[in-house]
């Protein structure tokens, strides 16, 4: 099965019943599969006039109570940003799959890249929460697609499943379970006249009523108070933005997914995600085979950034291979210190090979010792 297919299967199993999208390589297979499968599953598929409209339709569907996603790549992802910000501000759960390709602009439509790592976090204007997951195998496309929906529903945030061309088009054996754990958004338990759509409770995530269920309320991208109505008051603004930007804090343990390989005694840790992590794993194994103390830290959740996990490894030397001019490496430097971090970047549309990483490991290690 292909990564894009696994992603579609995961979305369906997580309960997605709505897809709106606009064709773009290398993500189109997801739309095509959804067009075929959603009506059979009692859901809906619509090809919109552009990515801005697709994102809008997804939010509309989610507000009607239907789990919804869209899928795109670089140029389309740029167009999603306007309404991604809207989803973050209004706390409407939704999932955006971005199968990354080379940029900027039309760039390299059919070549892999990890070019949108920062855009996924900061692409829309204003401070806002977002969760970004990055799979490194076809199996993980499935698993993280399920997680994406569960996180979106539980925390009422847009979740971005950040794949890349290699993973999207890769074919691997996968094991699909018969069922998965599915999380649904918290519904109000109070009667409609007691319902405040943005009321804060200990969970920091307000209960969400679907449109049409009798809990008439207002949803706006303007700064709003707990009733949902607009307010420009400094105290209201501070409260809303404070809650939005801190609501994930208490759940970081559960949101931050990662894998560590042989990091304990490692002198050098390779920090890699997505398709680059496949080459990195091979390189790390080869280095270990030749007696070098090297490990791998592989974040599956890249935003929120795994700060605590990396802090535990500080003191070690890091190597960050990325298929861009250096994006997430800046975050690694921020946590473990700039002097500790080495870069390996490729942005010519070709994969970083295990040999290239191994060579760099050897070069760095000869300096370390």
């Amino acid at each position: 099965m292909q990564g894009n297919e696994a992603c579609a299967e995961g979305a369906l199993m997580a309960g997605a019943r709505f897809f709106a999208g606009y064709p773009i390589t290398p993500s189109s297979e997801i739309a095509e599969l959804m067009a075929e499968k959603l009506p059979l599953a009692g859901g809906s598929f619509i090809q919109m006039e552009d990515e801005i409209a697709s994102m809008a339709a997804v939010i509309g569907a989610s507000l009607a109570g239907v789990k919804a996603l869209t899928a795109t790549s670089g140029p389309g992802f740029s167009l999603k940003q306007e309404n991604l910000g809207y989803a973050a501000a209004t706390e409407i759960p939704c999932v955006v799959v971005n199968v990354m390709r080379g940029g900027p602009s039309t760039g390299l439509p059919t070549s892999p890249a990890q070019a949108d790592v920062m855009q996924a976090r900061w692409g829309t204007h204003g401070d806002h929460p977002v969760i970004v997951l990055s799979p490194y195998s076809v199996q993980e496309c499935f698993e993280l697609a399920v997680k994406s929906f569960n996180f979106a529903e539980e925390f009422r945030v847009p979740v971005i499943l950040l794949m890349d061309e290699v993973i999207g088009h890769l074919r691997e054996r996968v094991e699909l379970p018969d069922a998965v754990e599915v999380v649904d958004r918290k519904k109000p338990v109070v009667p409609p006249d007691k319902y405040y759509p943005y009321e804060n409770d200990a969970s920091m995530v307000p209960a969400m009523a679907n449109f049409g269920d009798g809990y008439r309320h207002h949803v706006t991208g303007l700064i709003h108070d707990i009733t949902g109505l607009p307010s420009g008051k400094p105290a209201v603004t501070e409260k809303l933005l404070g809650r939005l930007n801190h609501k994930l804090d208490r759940y970081l343990d559960r949101i931050t997914l990662y894998e560590e390989v042989a990091v304990e005694d490692a002198e050098l840790v390779v920090f890699a995600y997505g398709c680059t992590a496949r080459s990195a794993l091979e390189a790390v194994n080869a280095a270990r085979g030749s007696g070098l103390k090297v490990g791998l830290f592989r974040p599956k959740t890249i935003w929120p950034f795994p700060v605590e996990q990396l802090e535990k490894l500080s003191g070690k030397t890091f190597l960050v291979p990325e298929m861009n001019c250096g994006q997430l490496v800046g975050e690694v430097e921020r946590v473990v210190g700039r002097r500790q971090v080495h870069r390996l970047n490729r942005f010519d549309g070709e994969l970083i090979t295990p040999d290239e990483i191994l060579l760099k490991i050897q070069e760095v290690m000869s300096g370390v010792q």
Binding site: A20, G42, G214, H218, L229
Partner: protein
């Protein structure tokens, strides 16, 4: 009388933001009367709007209301309607909202003939941002970004919607607000994409720059230039039902596809 329609308003959200003499309040009342006359279930009514003075209407109405991003209201509404067809979906937009940044969404909603009723409040100007010209500002008229007179020609929004596939189009004015209510009822009853253009006055950002001394002059202008049939002189425009057509509706079509594929069962 406001008391007749007060149940449809969030009175706690008032007073509204509109300037003295603005026509949006009159149009809002006409819109709410249509919903009242149709006896729609308040819990099933969704009103979606874009960004602008006109679009602020949703905040004051006690329905399921969605104030979206500039120009995108119809796209949000499309997702809502397709996901939950039993909802009655109305969309309120300004002239810039619907014809400039949202023009593409308008023609595609019309092309799909999706069962949504769109109300465009045409005040000939970008009101909220202080009076820049819009694609519906008449030729030669003044705006802050057409200080020497507008060189462009305006759209006829109803012609555009008809050509794109809408199946009902109508026009009224803030002055002809009882007609507006009737047309909105017709629009709702059309099982497809319907668009109603409400010509309205913006005394502060449009009137002042275009030789209208008072808001009343603008309302009188509406009265004088709105015609129901016959030859159109200079600034005249048609009001009433402008076009009706029949075409397959998108959401119903999708429902049929679903049924066909699933052999009649309709859960989930």
């Amino acid at each position: 009388m406001f008391s007749e329609i007060a149940q449809y308003f969030r009175t706690e959200a008032l007073p509204h933001i509109w300037c003295p003499g603005c026509g949006i309040g009159t149009v809002t009342a006409a819109f709410v009367r249509a919903i009242k006359n149709l006896q729609l279930d308040q819990n099933k009514v969704v009103v979606v709007s874009g960004i602008g003075c006109s679009s602020r209407m949703t905040g004051y109405l006690d329905f399921n209301t969605l104030h979206t991003t500039h120009g995108r209201a119809l796209a949000f509404a499309t997702g809502l309607k397709l996901a939950r067809p039993e909802l009655d979906v109305f969309v309120v937009m300004g002239d810039g909202d619907s014809s400039a940044i949202g023009g593409n969404h308008l023609i595609h909603a019309a092309r799909r003939n999706i069962d949504i009723t769109a109300l465009v409040i045409n005040n000939s100007i970008y009101g909220m941002t202080g009076g820049q010209c819009s694609p519906l500002t008449p030729h030669d008229k003044r705006a802050t970004t057409s200080p020497y007179g507008n060189l462009d020609r305006p759209f006829d929004l109803l012609d555009l919607a008809r050509a794109a596939g809408a199946t009902y189009g109508a026009r009224a004015t803030a002055y002809h607000n009882q007609l507006l209510t009737k047309l909105l009822v017709n629009a709702y009853n059309n099982p497809g994409f319907s668009i109603v253009e409400a010509i309205s006055q913006c005394p502060v950002s449009y009137g002042r720059r275009n030789k209208f001394k008072t808001p009343a002059d603008m309302v009188l202008w509406q009265k004088e230039h709105a015609v129901t049939r016959g030859e159109l002189g200079g600034e005249d425009f048609l009001i009433g039902d402008i076009f009706k057509a029949q075409a397959p509706e998108f959401v119903a079509g999708y429902g049929k596809l679903r049924e066909r594929l699933r052999g009649g069962s309709a859960d989930g």
